[in-house]
Symmetry: C2
Subunit: 350 residues, 2 copies
């Protein structure tokens, strides 16, 4: 029986290879391949493992444009932190579309954090005002750091980041204290030796915890939402003309972060129409008949130039990202290629 060589990449291996810039490039390419019919998602599997305490989802798809198919299983175990274990765990499996043979198994933890940060940032890159200076990040968990990192990487005009937690101001304060150190642990550009330019960039931004979202929004032109909220905590009345939202937290039925009325006047982009309207921020305005699917465009069509994004400095724009398998597949392919070049990871016969 012939043994098949596969590559195993640990979270540490992934961390050595991935920087914000190459991750953003991979995720943009995933959106582009989808819009150009060179990629397709398979149905999302999302299941409770222990009610309110643990769940998992399986995201899978095919990337004809990169001769790949595969999946990612990610599980959330809410009580892991008490035992010193990571609450998010998971693996990515990558297969060759020419032969069906497995190519690699990759720890999905850091990969997911980076590709999700990249998604939020791509929304900002393509939709927020050119000279956007003030970002409000709602949410102070593990993923918030990656959202901030990718946002300030793709948007050099950003000077100030408001950190907001709709439930606990204290958490926002805590993140304000640690954010520079946390951001410094992420690599922006592997070519930037010692991460020097990145550390300078981080230092050029003010990070300020806020406890009044309405007031902060008066000054904000770019918003990222990244909480597990089940009801809107940003009211339509607080939103200034010209604001862009990257909505990242809602990824399950019942989740919502921003007032569905904001969708009424906004230009709305998503990663995948079906997934966004069933489990994303878009689910509520769709259910409430505020918008229908005709009002929504997949962001790949903005990237490939088919559709225009922002048309004026007054437009309110939304990018709703629920996270799609194609992001995981393009990033995984990049990791496999780089791991080969740099001789990183463990080769195993299976």
């Amino acid at each position: 029986m012939n043994m098949i060589p596969i590559k195993i990449l640990s979270d540490n291996d992934v961390k050595v290879i991935l920087d914000i810039r190459n991750t953003v490039a991979c995720v943009e390419n995933a959106y582009l391949l989808k819009a150009n019919n060179q990629a397709r998602l398979f149905p999302l599997i999302s299941e409770d493992l222990s009610e309110g305490k643990a769940d998992m989802d399986i995201k899978s798809g095919i990337l004809n444009g990169e001769d790949t198919f595969g999946l990612k299983l990610v599980a959330w175990f809410g009580e892991n932190e008490k035992q010193g274990l990571p609450p998010l765990t998971g693996l990515t499996m990558i297969f060759d579309l020419k032969t069906g043979l497995p190519k690699a198994i990759i720890n999905a933890r850091y990969l997911t954090a980076m590709r999700t940060g990249a998604a939020g940032a791509i929304g900002i890159k393509y939709l927020s005002k050119t000279d956007s200076e003030v970002l409000l990040v709602a949410g102070t968990g593990f993923q918030a750091v990656f959202q901030i990192a990718a946002a300030i990487s793709v948007k050099p005009s950003l000077k100030k980041v408001y950190i907001y937690n709709p439930l606990r101001y204290q958490s926002a304060m805590k993140l304000q204290c640690s954010i520079k150190e946390e951001l410094g642990k992420i690599t922006n550009d592997i070519g930037d030796l010692g991460n020097c330019m990145w550390l300078q960039r981080i230092d050029s931004v003010d990070f300020i915890a806020v406890d009044n979202a309405a007031k902060a929004l008066e000054e904000t032109d770019t918003v990222i939402t990244i909480t597990p909220s089940r009801k809107a905590y940003i009211s339509n009345e607080w939103v200034m003309p010209g604001t862009h939202f990257s909505c990242i937290g809602a990824d399950m039925p019942g989740k919502q972060e921003i007032d569905e009325k904001i969708f009424e006047v906004a230009r709305v982009f998503v990663d995948d129409i079906h997934q966004a309207s069933s489990v994303g921020e878009t689910q509520t305005p769709i259910k409430s008949d505020i918008i229908d699917e005709k009002h929504i465009t997949e962001i790949g069509y903005l990237i490939n130039g088919t559709i225009k994004g922002r048309t004026s400095d007054k437009d309110i724009t939304i990018f709703d990202s629920t996270g799609i398998a194609l992001q995981d597949l393009t990033v995984s392919n990049f990791l496999i290629k780089k791991a080969e070049e740099l001789n990183i990871g463990t080769a195993v016969y299976i």
Copy 2:
């Protein structure tokens, strides 16, 4: 960042551990846990990768009874054989239900062959006549060998095996020539040193290629169907009272092997009602309104004693198995445990 230890089991590792007897025990346990509400299937994903040339499915589920959840991706690439590659490839991923951490990655090729053989045999063990002597196996591909192996292992009364290929008699002749050698490569019982008793058992059976199914069925009391057929090749009129069918080949919409009228009078058992009636042999009689879901029982209820199987030597019985994730999970758990004991496989940090 903490690294997580996982075990990689190659196809050769699996082959060292799995024998027919322990595989049958694991698969029976999977059915039992399902009937006892200690296990649950997640939705089946089944997708074309290249029309008519390649497809894949993802089977996933949770085994509360064994603190496990996970999935198996299996792909079929019809043109692989021309390049000397296996047409079936795939991997199983096993996770710990207490922490969500990954435990093992297992090559799914031999595992799938063995657990699918075990399924057909469990149908025979619980439903065919006690003294069944003649088995007809329709289908002469890779999986037919595993079906025959498991059948003659669980049913010591079997003395004669008719080998039938509905399209090419030559293929049946070819399998008749090689079947004893092929069966000899499978381990029936690891405790049987040198596989001696198993080789004797194989030698006690006559294997005969046939080109007339109607005639062979006059003498047959147990049937296994394991072809990729899309229309019935066994007619209702040919079936003798008392015959048992283990229907294994149909596992996709549009597949069918036996006349749907046989279901009208048969006692029908399946591995999973939803899956069998949507992609299994049961799909056609359901669609034709010959039976409804009330006529179908999951075999776990037969194994746990809730429902009676065969009630007389005249009953026609059917076990329709489409293959469920829980089989893969129980077999994988057994493999992980044994690999630990025997120090088999590769330990990797991920």
